[in-house]
Amino acid sequence: MTRPVLIGNASAFWGDSPDAAARLLESRPDLDFLTLDYLAEVSLSIMAIQREKNPEAGFAADFVEVVKSLLPFWQAGRKTKVVTNAGGLNPFGCASACAAVMRAAGHRASIGIVTGDNVLDDLKATSDSDAFRNLETGAPLADVHDRLVTANAYLGAGRAAEALRQGADIVVCGRLADPSLTVATASAHFGWAESDYDRSAAATIAGHLIECGTQVTGGISTHWMELSGQENLGFPIVELWDDGRFVVTKPDGTGGRVSEETVKEQLLYEMGDPGCYLSPDVTVSVLGLKIREVGRDRVEVRGARGSSPPPTYKVSATYRDGYRAEGMLTIVGPNAASRARRCGEIVIERMRAAGFSPRRSHIEALGSGDAVSGVLPRRDDLWECVLRVAVADPRRECVEYFTRQLAPLVTAGPAGVTGYASGRPPVRQVFGYWPCLMPVDRVEPALQILEV
């Protein structure tokens, strides 16, 4: 191959900048692929709730807006293909919504739909008391079995790559492992074999680096204050060669920075054993990685090593776990932190007195060091501080009661209580996270093509 494949990322999570994709393509119309990630550990449980209310929901509707925003590029002849996990719990629904937008604009396209990740029925139907134990705690599935909301296997790149090879312009997936979106594009582009583990490892690292969008271009960097253009951080691009070497960069004219430092920071983000990074496509070692700057905002990465993937898929399940709420008040004046803590205790005491002792509660005097309570010396000489109280309980009415106990402090608390403009905090459902494993041969990733 004489040139690298160009892969951009324009969404790091559900709620990221909706105009990032169009802006990225405007500055880099030569991109071969755009990847958009929408799913975090418990995003699918939120989609499950939305689908309960509306059977046609259950996916990241933001993506449909992204497709709409890209129509002018495609209609002008641009060929950038898009791979996303926006399908969530309802990839068909997501693809149909995209198709409707394209039809309305008279645009023809081919949409690949990757499913098979939803294994909720398998978890519900299991009679094996040893199956699907919590990967972290070892607890049996029976503990949460009757409260399960979602269960999705992290699929690999296979079916998405197949969709691209069959000519899909857009690939809408359910739960693909985040880096697999990138692996799918590179392996389809170069025609890599699934057993080409070093190359898959390189693409997995590339995907890992760009899947959180601006986190590799200066976002949340230790050196963030040194950046210019923080208001317009560029979304990342990788230029990946057939041998697995790649360069991380960002469009000219955008803010932020791609440096050895930002790339190393993001490489380590949410990393476990760096010698054994598990993905459904490949087991990756980053121990021999070489990272060096080869130009302004250009960082070359080489040396990824891969071996066969694990024989199991990781499954991310969620279960209902009661309710929670959190509220804040601002306390101004001498000894603000002590007064804030006393206010927090009063809230819990009043709940107890009303028979609503919460199962769990947490009081923080933010500003005094409580965000990492007990790690750094506590600062109690504050003149202003934010009280944050959070409670969780299986009873909705208990948490409802809590949400009404902060406002009275505006008249019953210490002098200098303020900042109660946002009203009662909302009661939210809690979804517990239940990671577990499932043998690869029990999951069947599927692909369908929808011609628009």
């Binding site: 230790t222 050196h223 430092e261 993001q266 490489l267 476990g272 790690v375 750094l376 959070a390």
Partner: protein, 122 residues
């Protein structure tokens, strides 16, 4: 000879990023210089990190070394207690643990400190 020492902070010689993995959190820590990496390899053991964060109750801390990148990965098992979605802390996802680690106080030989600090800006 390196007789005189000075009080420093970890952030003088390294930078970091943290996040969540279920009920655990990981902190990627990267030294600015090879000297700084070697100093941390010898002094910043998993026990030191576990003790530093003991108030948050990590069950166990694993330290992984990536010498080629002058980096360490600390995996703080169980430090998020209830896990990202259930934790009641404002920092439910361990995003603040990296900057908190960088506040660690060090007592370093003056000349060594000079060789470990960051040499340039972004």
């Amino acid at each position: 000879m390196e007789g005189a020492t000075k009080r420093a902070r970890l952030r003088d010689i390294a930078y970091a990023r943290s996040g969540d993995k279920g009920s655990s959190s990981n902190i990627g820590l990267i030294a600015y210089t090879p000297e700084g990496y070697r100093y941390l390899r010898d002094s910043l053991t998993s026990d030191v990190v576990q003790s530093y964060f003991r108030a948050l109750g990590p069950v166990h801390v694993d330290r992984y070394e990536i010498p080629g990148l002058l980096a360490f990965n600390f995996l703080l098992k169980g430090v998020l207690g209830e896990g990202g979605s259930r934790s009641l802390r404002v920092d439910a996802q361990g995003k603040a643990l990296g900057v908190a680690l960088l506040e660690m106080e060090l007592e370093m030989p003056v000349q060594l400190h000079d060789r470990c600090v960051r040499k340039r800006e972004l």
